[in-house]
């Protein structure tokens, strides 16, 4: 039975390699052929994938209702921007009050700046976690929401560091398609490895039954803080990418409602499914653009409405309600994409042995 297993492992590996190659070629084709507007949407998809995955880690896999994501994005965005802008750019931005001297001359390449934005957000997430992870459910949600708003207020008022409500303009357009999707892929791979590791099992056990988890020797508090810090780190990275994608940031963008946009994606995709978050992030981001016409004047043939800005969001809110009422598990529930699952529903030729065979040959079975 070992043989069939080795074969199926290598089949899956092959399929994964082919799919990756196809993906890279696809990115090339997109890069070469599409106009700038479409390209921007593709990049935004990648950033939203990272955001959805990071929120899903804490809400879906660890079972903690956190609403602080907008704040961590903001921290990441500002950190990255301030580290990556040139001194000249900074001087041009800070017209009301000059930037603090120690920040003026820092000028890092994009990669270290991006990592720093993750680290700063992660550190703050860790600190908040140590305080807030003693709270439960709605209290935790309120505390993290409050934290997110505090961040925004600080960003608005720390004039010599953040340029206050004027925001930062003219950031280098670093977030290319390769950066955006490269980061999304790295984050996805990291999260898959994390969730399938012993730590991922510990996270899920907390979600499923906190007391039993603690009784089985899991340091629940420590694990929650860890998960929260990782999630904040990833939100910070996404924020950094977003800053250099938009090239203009200001505190209003990190209003707490931004968190709900991401929550929408996570819930639609399936709370506790990496695959679901990825698909939903892409689908929602794309349809946000495709449905842009809803905000403008609508021609029904017999009547023409004047434009109703925000009608798009009504559509998504209605969709969210329908999902919450009729399909709470979202698109994927807690299941994940796998080649074997595709084979099971008949989209790939079936393997000879059932997937529950007992032959364990190496790490593919380690799940």
């Amino acid at each position: 039975m070992g043989m069939t297993n080795i074969k199926s492992v290598s089949r899956n590996t092959w399929l994964t390699l082919c799919a990756s190659l196809a993906g890279i070629i696809l990115l090339f084709v997109i890069e070469e052929n599409f106009d700038r507007f479409t390209m921007q949407i593709f990049k935004l998809c990648a950033i939203n994938v990272i955001l959805a995955l990071s929120l899903n880690l804490i809400n879906g896999f660890t079972g903690l209702f956190s609403l602080g994501h907008a704040g961590f994005m903001g921290i990441g965005a500002y950190t990255c921007a301030l580290l990556a802008m040139t001194p000249a750019q900074k001087e041009a931005n800070f017209i009301l009050q000059p930037i603090v001297p120690w920040l003026l001359d820092v000028h890092l390449p994009f990669l270290p700046a991006l990592l720093a934005s993750g680290l700063v957000a992660g550190l703050l997430g860790w600190l908040l976690g140590v305080v807030a992870m003693r709270l439960r459910d709605d209290y935790l949600a309120i505390a993290t929401l409050g934290f997110s708003e505090i961040i925004r207020v600080v960003l608005t008022n720390a004039q010599p560091i953040t340029n206050g409500s004027l925001g930062l303009k003219g950031l280098p357009r670093y977030t290319t398609m390769w950066w955006a999707w490269g980061s999304a892929i790295v984050v996805t791979v990291f999260l898959v490895l994390l969730i399938k590791s012993s730590y991922g099992r510990a996270f899920k056990s907390i979600r499923d039954n906190e007391i039993a988890s603690e009784a089985m020797g899991i340091n629940v508090f420590g694990m929650k803080v860890l998960s929260f810090a990782i999630s904040s780190f990833l939100a910070g990275i996404a924020g950094g990418l977003l800053a250099h994608y938009l090239t203009t940031i200001d505190p209003k963008q990190f209003f707490f409602l931004k968190t709900f946009d991401i929550l929408l994606i996570v819930v639609l995709g399936g709370v506790g499914s990496i695959t679901g978050s990825i698909i939903a992030a892409i689908a929602v981001t794309a349809s946000m653009e495709l449905l842009r016409f809803l905000d403008g004047p609508l021609n029904f043939g017999f009547m023409v409405t004047s434009g109703t800005p925000g009608l798009r969001m009504v559509f998504f809110s209605a969709l969210l309600m329908i999902v919450v009422i009729f399909r709470q598990q979202g698109l994927m529930g807690t299941s994940e994409f796998s080649w074997d699952a595709l084979a099971r529903i008949g989209l790939l030729p079936r393997r000879k042995r059932s997937h529950r065979s007992n032959g364990k040959t190496g790490k593919e079975r380690v799940e």
Binding site: S198, A202, L226
Partner: protein, 255 residues
């Protein structure tokens, strides 16, 4: 004098105005199987919760292996070697049977986030080892063929056995079983008795169990404590307990 493996000294627990457990003092020697019985609401589960660290006593001390564990966190108590099952089954419901056991092994696996996410060879070795152990435990409780199933899809009796396997995976010295035979027929209860004796010897365990099936308690416990309204009303061998007028009164009402 040899120290007992577990000793509780005058433990009390009060929930608001309700005294759930009072003056609870028991002694359990290494290798024993001790029973804890009493009518519904007597405070049996609460005393388990007090010893294992789910609740903190209002008063009194708990000593394990000569060490004061009264104020320790639940997971630290587990690390010292106390494991338990739950009366109202608490499995990790969205995880597989195998994963339920693997979670309990995380504590003794000695891994770190870095080696685990990077899948370093050292991690893969540990992971392989705990998988082997987990499967062996599942085989022990007869669930090896169901390792991929969702834990809560199992029938009730099997869920109870999975809880025992999961508790054993923490490598305890002292095991608390809260009504392991609940919902079992006499045939299954008899099998359970043999099973408890077997794991006691195989894993060198000391066991304390709560049970309403008198046949089970009387069959495997050399000693037992009887609780009623939080008070320990009797303590002794099964024969002594059966004859004790206070116990008869507690179970049957006034004589």
């Amino acid at each position: 004098m040899m120290g007992a493996l577990l000793e509780t000294l005058d433990v009390h627990k009060q929930f608001g105005g309700l005294v759930a457990v009072s003056a609870f003092s028991i002694r359990v020697e290494s290798g024993e199987i001790v029973g804890l019985i009493g009518p519904n609401g007597a405070g049996k589960t609460t005393s388990f919760n007090l010893i294992t660290g789910v609740y903190k006593p209002t008063r009194g001390r708990v000593l394990f292996d000569g060490r004061d564990i009264t104020r320790l966190a639940l997971h630290d108590i587990t690390r010292l070697g106390i494991a338990r099952t739950f009366q109202n089954i608490r499995l990790f419901k969205d995880m597989s049977v195998l994963e339920n056991v693997l979670v309990a092994q995380h504590m003794r696996m000695g891994t770190n986030l870095f080696e685990a996410t990077l899948r370093l060879p050292s991690y893969l070795r540990k992971e392989k080892h705990i998988h082997e152990q987990a499967r062996a435990l599942l085989a022990e409780v007869g669930l090896d063929a169901l390792e991929g199933d969702k834990a809560t899809s199992l029938p009730y009796g099997k869920q109870r056995r999975l809880e025992i396997a999961r508790a054993l995976a923490t490598e305890p010295k002292l095991l608390f079983l809260d009504e392991p035979a609940a919902g079992m027929n006499p045939q299954e209860s008899a099998e359970l008795m043999d099973f408890i004796l077997k794991i006691r010897d195989q894993f060198q365990l000391t066991i304390v169990l709560i049970e309403h099936h008198m046949q089970v308690v009387m069959g495997i416990c050399k000693r037992m404590y009887v609780l009623d309204y939080g008070v320990t009303i009797a303590h002794g061998t099964p024969e002594e307990i059966q004859k004790d007028p206070k116990v008869i009164e507690a179970y049957l009402g006034a004589p």
